[in-house]
Amino acid sequence: MNLRAISGKIRRNLNPQTILSVIFIVILGYVVVVPLGVMIQETFTVHPMERFQIPGSLPGDFTTHHWWRTFVSPSAYSFFYKPLINTLIISTSIAIVSLVIGGGLAWLIVRTDLPFKKFLSNLATVPYIMPSWAMSLAWITLFKNPRIGGSQGLFQYLTGITLPDWFSYGLFPIIICLSLHYFPFGFMLIAGALRNIDSQLEESAELLGASRAQILRRIVFPIVMPVIFSTFLLTFSRGLGTFGTPSFLGGPVRTYVLSTMLHANLVGQRPGIGYLVALVMILMGALILYMDHKMLGARKSFVTISGKSGRSGLTKLGKAKVPITIIVTAFLLAVTVVPFTVLALESLMLIPGNYSLSNLSLHYWIGPPSQNIGVGSGEPGILKNTAILKALGNSIKLGVVVSVICGVAGMLIGYTVVRTRGTFFSKLLDQMAFLPYLMPSIAFGSIFLALFAVQRGPIPSLYGTFTLLVIACVVKYLPFSSRAGIGAMMQIGPELEEAATMAGAGWITRMRKIILPLQKSSFFSGLLLPFISAMRELSLVVLLVTPGTQVATAITLRYTDRGWYPYTNAVMVLIVLAVLVTTYISRKLMGTDLAKGIGG
């Protein structure tokens, strides 16, 4: 083959989708694969404060000491294995509990004659919209016992009962709080799958004389099973990387998990061990991706645009209908309205723990800085605090910028993956765009710190810049929008574009005139989830923010550390309100659907 032939071949293949796939693979390679290499390197390097424990070493030297300490040394159990066991217990438990609650709800709402379906299914997505640790804040406020001293919890205030430590702190409340946060995830996925079962299958089975049980076992389960498995794995992987809840509820009884150990080592100037823990978390994430992939063969979007008619197969709840409706409604209200109300109420109580009317105050919202009243000496109310307002502004800015970039990139990735389907590039891009989803958030944050803290080649140091936050969030949430993008592109055949090409339309025109209009709703759905996630993100950004780039969630952590809960709670209320309002408006205006972004 001569040169001309080669260049001709290249030119023939030089269509927009190939160019796009190459560009995306290069970028993702840099922000996903290179960081992994950097981390591995760090685990073999002596860092300044570590040198005293490695006799005769200097910073920058090669060492296997961190590996020995983490996995083999007498401290290995405390440094690694015990936190690992706790992490596995938490992740497994929340995966099971979310599956049971989410699956149960999905079945009730999709497959039975339960009333108020629309209202209930909207309500069921709310806990996922709230920051995961909003629940743990509410938990502490409600159920804290005298172990951590100070004012008493609301439960004790009302009943006089002192709760045991295991109920107030540690594994139990961590599992409950995270499960209540992640069950909507299972609900959306499984509800989507249940909706997609063609009722004709079941009707035919019924005509052929199959019993209800047989239909469930032979038709419904085989179709839903992969989704259930996938839901389990995905919830499990979210449990691995979460930081706020275990840090907050585990501390008082000294329950460490991998994410809190990673954090302790990184702030304690022991990056060697820290990155090693992060690496293990990422490996576990990758293993889950692999298992998920094996299980499903080719990964598909479960939540396709459904239009299956005939809801004839709805199970009649009969006599149980009223009690079940009451239970479901009460449960959903309890996990949405109650935490929110508790937080809002707490922000209005001048002296924490005193719930009398005379103690109601707007001090933490609009009060002047004061050394004499309130818990925070010299701290102004949050609406008068420029640092807080700036952080809230940063959060919103981050949400908007990240969601727009994610939305556009997600759609282009969807377009590229679907149009180059069957090629190696298509598969690679699909996988790479999904990989960040499984990386534990806090580990992901630490990689970005390692990667961008110093100048590398042409890329300058981005430490302390807003750009770094944007890049980290875009890459982390890209899976949401690329899922949405791929799912949506699957619905559009190439015929329309081919026709347009015949009529002489260029690529830009085709995108503008055909793809975009058809994708409008999916596009905005793809925007919504990154926006919500960025607004409420903590684990990912906790290591990356600086005073200048402070975001609202991270600033609340600082309040929490100092015990200034009313301020934390007030900020939380603002964040939740902002996210809820955005979700509501986008649903009304753009017809967005949260579930579209969450495909497995």
């Binding site: 300044p48 404060m49 015990k82 951590i148 001293g149 540690g170 008082p252 302390g464």
Partner: protein
Amino acid sequence: MLKKRISLLLIAALLVFATAGLAYAEDLDELIAAAQKEGKLVVYATTSRINLAAEAFQAKYGIEVEAHRLSETELIERVYQEARAGVNAVDIVLIEDYPSVKELLINTGYLVNYVPPVAKEYVPAEYHDPLVFAYISRIIGYNTEAFESDPFDSIWDLTTPEFRGRVMIRDLAITGEHQNAFTELIRRSDELEADYLRRFGEPLQLREENAGLEFLRRLVENDIILMTSDTRIAEAVGQKGQENPPVGFFYVYSKHRDIPQKDLALDYSSNIKPFLGYYYGMYIQLAAKANNPNAAKLFANYLMTPEGYEPWSSEVGFYSMNPEVPPYPGDMPWEWWKERLWTYDPDFAIEHRGIVLDAWLRAVVN
């Protein structure tokens, strides 16, 4: 006679003061002139009162100041990452945890020491390098409602069943100064062992290498409660109306300033042996590549004057090493504290704090 001698002394002192003041004023005038030509000064500090000092400085010299309050680990990490990244954002820091600062920021050339004219003049040379802005004390506190008198005789009391699940401490993993302080317990293990014998009449049985680590382990195994802030410890310990209140171990004494405002029943143990707690320095350091080096120097000078120290002057638990700064009458004098508190040797601390953190994590993970 006596009166006469005093007035003579006063005159002598004034003379010394006046001549010294002249040289100092000359240095200062140059500094002010140079500083006022520079831009906005950026300060990172671990104390929130820095904002008050910054405002007063701005009013006095017309130099704009942007002050950020950060936790001690955050501050070190931030200066370290910024210096590595070549971001010269900060001009001057008020920083704690000197062993880490020395290792990460001074040995690497990111921070430099500077002795301003006023410090040269009045502050004894032993506090010049690194320049001590103030010493801070950490104490052991109890609830005065639950205990009518000081409940402690020895620090080993904290490891007894009476205080099981009742001792609160700021998590060592996020508190570099605690790690430093515990290295001193290792270094002075003999004294700890002797005190155990004095208190219980029998020798200490060691499971760890030395009495310092043994104390750390017993303290943790007595179901210690980890907290994330000293503020919360002081509140939790001092809250009135508690049946079985916790005790606070090694929290910053300055939290006692909140006692009237928060209506706390709180005092520190003054009988506990062999130490009442420990002290550590808060140091002033300049960024080696400061954008506004003269403004930074002027601010350093200002902070070392009684005027600049004003925001901290009516605070218990903060001690200026400038004799011109009047001691706070609501607190015991520094000399009293210095005899009763331990501190640590920075070189010994940096080499041994890894051992402390290891022992801590081994014992603490539940």
